[in-house]
């Protein structure tokens, strides 16, 4: 477990930076709150609204594509750690794996699944 100490330290540094960004202005910056400034920033829109009605399904579609590519990535990682030892056979394996997925990618792309309109 000791070898993960650097990761823990990175987390610590990240927490320190984020804490400083939030904390220092609180201590140092002048505070003059006006009703307009208290509102969350939303460019030219009413910032508070009930999210009723229909939402475009394209958001969900992109999110699911993200998950699928993410899972694909998970398999590439151990392959990358081993590919010299796996040799040409390993190369062929990954070629088949990615080839099948790239077929899906090509299909999504050509069918306009990635267009935002």
């Amino acid at each position: 477990m000791v070898e993960y100490l650097p990761i823990l330290m990175t987390f610590g540094a990240a927490a320190a930076v984020a804490g400083a960004l939030l904390g220092l202005p609180y201590l140092l910056a002048p505070k003059r709150v006006t009703p307009v400034k208290a509102q969350p920033f939303e460019c030219g829109k009413d910032p508070i609204a009930v999210s009723e009605g229909r939402f475009a399904i394209k958001f969900a579609m992109i999110a699911i594509f993200f998950i699928l590519i993410d899972i694909e990535l998970l398999f590439v990682w151990p392959w990358a750690a081993l590919y010299r030892r796996l040799g040409w056979f390993g190369f062929a394996e990954m070629l088949v794996f990615l080839g099948i997925l790239m077929l899906g990618f090509l299909y999504i792309w050509k069918k306009g699944g990635l267009e935002w309109e």
Binding site: A60, I67, L68, I71, L82, E93, I100, L101, Y107, K111
Partner: protein, 165 residues
């Protein structure tokens, strides 16, 4: 994993799980779930299952939680859930089942503590190289099958979500 580190992470895991249950705002609940998934990833690390830990962070705490938060933001109004739960009786029905699972857990633990009836499975190294070695040799077929499964999922998403046929 040292007992102190384990106790610390376990405390955070349980606290975040309770937080997920009691928080009414679903976004807060989702954030608690991220913490909980992170703690489980640390447990995996402690058991030497590096690959699983990374998978937990990348896929669950990363991608799937994005979809969760996303679905919550899109579908559920921002105000906190209010009013009594209309299905409180169903929750009561969950109690005996939960108790049953808990009893099973205790039973299995008890049985394991006594004489082990079956030879325990040989410990499998969980580092990324060990997993990769298995994945690309013995488990070649499941590995390639996964890509077909992902392809079917892609095509399925497109079929269901595209505006026009």
């Amino acid at each position: 994993m040292s007992p102190i580190a384990f106790a610390l992470v376990a405390a955070i895991a349980i606290a975040s799980a309770i937080g997920l249950l009691v928080k009414k705002n679903p976004i807060h609940g989702a954030l608690f779930l991220v913490v909980n998934l992170g703690c489980v990833a640390v447990f995996y690390l402690g058991l030497g299952a590096e690959f699983l830990a990374v998978a937990q962070v990348i896929v669950y705490a990363g991608a799937i939680m994005v979809l969760f938060v996303f679905a919550i933001m899109v579908l559920i109004p921002g105000k906190e859930e209010t009013g009594p739960d209309p299905r409180v009786r169903w929750r009561v029905a969950a109690l005996p089942f939960g108790a049953l699972l808990f009893a099973q857990l205790i039973m299995i633990l008890g049985a394991r503590r006594g004489a082990p009836t079956a030879a325990p499975a040989a410990p499998v190294p969980g580092g990324v190289e060990a997993i990769g070695r298995l994945l690309f040799t013995d488990y070649l077929l499941p590995f390639e099958l996964t890509s077909v499964l992902l392809l079917a999922a892609m095509v399925g998403v497109l079929l269901l979500a595209r505006r026009r046929a």
